[in-house]
Each structure stands twice: as C-alpha cells, then as structure tokens.
Amino acid sequence: MDKVFIAIPAYNEEKTIAKVIEDLLQADYKNIIIIDDGSKDETVNIVKKYPVYLCQHQLNCGQGAALRTGTEFALKNKADVIVHFDADGQHQVKDINNFIIKIKEGYDIVIGSRFLGDSYNNIPFTKRYFIHKPAIIFNWFFTGLKMTDAHSGFRALSRKAAKQIRITLNRMAHSTEIPGEVIKNQLKFAEVPIDVIYNDYGQKFSDGFKIIADLLKHKILK
C-alpha cells in the first residue's frame, strides 16, 4: 500500500488544530506531520497530546517554509503520497481520498479546487470576485497554467513531484510558485473538487497584496 503523509503547517492554531488532528486520526491517517512554525500560543502543547509527528521551527519562517520542511520529512520517511493540509479547519478530511486516488492513477500533483466544489456558493461574494478571480488570472499570467483554483493550499504530491518541486518562497506565495514548477518539471497535473468551510481565520483581503508583492520581489531579484 502507498504510504500517505499529511503535512500540516501550523502557526498559532490552538483553536482549531486539535479538531483537525482528531478528524484525521479518526479517518485512519497514520502519518501526520505537524510543522509548528514558531507558534507563540498553545499549539505545540496541544499537538504533543496526539500520536502525530511534530516538527518545530524555532522561528516563524512562513507557510511555504513549513510545507517544505514537512515535505522533506515525508520524503525521508519514504512517503509515496504527500498531502498538504490546512491547520485552520477549512479543509475537509473526506476530500483527501480523492487526492490519493488521483495520485494512484498516475498524476504527479493534484490540486484541490474550491471552484469545482459544492460549497463554492457559500464563499462571500466579495472574496469570490476580488480575491479568487484575480488570483486565477494572476497565476495564469505568471505561470501560463490554467487552473480554476491555485490558491487553495490543499494539494497532494507524488513522491516524484515532491522531489522535483522546490518551494522557495517562504510566505504565502508558495501557491503560485507550485504551478510554475509543474510546468518546468513537466508534471502530470489534475484538479479535484473540494469543499471549504470559511471561518474568521482565513486570509484577509490585504494578504492578497502581500502575496503579489512577494512574487514581484522574487521575479525582480532572481
């Protein structure tokens, strides 16, 4: 059987992390790696109560960095499939299996799309038209890859893809980085519908600008 690792970056997620871990354990996912990205709250102590791997960043390095750490740990432990999952409870455990199935079908990278899922209509109108749609266009412009939802952060990588993809941007811009890597490495890519639950802890509108700033900086300085 394929060895599946779930990598969850967590930064100050004491409110939600316990439920996320419990749901995953209940669904019988055994290899869960939580990457604590220098949280200042109780996140670490909560995670320690559960039978999951805990990897601690001494300093806050950003979600991209945390995902890279998690991915590297999974590779070291001979993972066949690596799933990137969110610690704030917006992703559904029930969707993970669809990712794994796709990877088993031979895809290298599977990205969850909110725009294909049923819950899309629950996303606030403003968020849909002022954050998501521009993000799609922005990604397409930068990467040339058309995907309905590149910023979900819910994705699965095959072992091969995980080895090839290098997440170099530390903060949130990693989501845009990945499609570029897909093209560069000629990976087989698929999308699966996912449902998301929106809470107050998601990304703010201003974060969209931060992501754009990160990317421009990267392009200029490279």
């Binding site: 039978p51 990897c55 960043h57 740990f73």
Partner: protein, 120 residues
C-alpha cells in the same frame, strides 16, 4: 561658514574618529579605513567649499553643483538599498534553511502512539 556646515563638519570629525578607533582595534582593514577616510574627506570638502562641486557640475552638464551632489547621492542610496535588500533576502533564505534542518533533526512523536507501540 553657516551653522549647518559647522554641525556637519563636527559630525564628520566624529565619524573619522570612530573609524580610527575601529582601525586601532583591528575591526577594520587598512584598505577599508582609507576608502572611508577618503569618502568622508570628500564629503567634508563639499560641505565646507560647495563651489568645488561646480567643476563636476560643469563637466557633467548639470546646472548647479548642489544638484550633482543630490543626484549622485540618490543613485548611490538606491543602489545601497537594493544591495541591502538582496542581502536580507539571502539571509532570510539561509535562516529558513537552518531552521528547517534543525527542526528535522528534532522531530517528536506524540505520547499516545508510543503507548500503542509498546502494547504491540
């Protein structure tokens, strides 16, 4: 000499003094010291005798000597900001790399799993 010129010259004297202290403590190489010394002496000359910049201004085709100094300063400052910026980016990347490696060496596993393993 106006008051501002006096202040700036005193400041430059202080900077040169700090440089010489650094040199004596061997915190700084003699080459670097000379470079900075020449730089600050030029600044002092420009402050005390602003007319000197007129030579440069005429040569470059800029109207006033003061303008030449400002233009050059802006270009140099922008360049320095860019350098510092790239430096910080690189340091950030290096720190991330270190943090990652340290964290990967100290991966823990929660208690319940240990109990389960000992039962098996």
């Amino acid at each position: 000499m106006s008051l501002i010129q006096i202040f700036i010259v005193i400041f430059i004297a202080y900077v040169i003094y700090r440089l010489s202290v650094k040199l004596r403590k061997r915190d700084m190489s003699i080459q670097l010291f000379l470079l900075w010394l020449v730089f600050w002496i030029i600044v002092a000359v420009v402050i005390v005798l602003p007319q000197t910049t007129q030579i440069l201004a005429d040569w470059l085709g800029v109207g006033r000597g003061v303008d030449v100094v400002i233009y050059i300063s802006i270009v140099v400052l922008f360049y320095i900001v860019f350098r510092v910026y790239s430096r910080i980016e690189k340091i950030e990347r290096d720190i991330t790399y270190l943090v990652k490696d340290i964290s990967l060496e100290n991966v823990q596993k929660g208690e319940k799993q240990k109990m389960e393993q000992s039962e098996q």
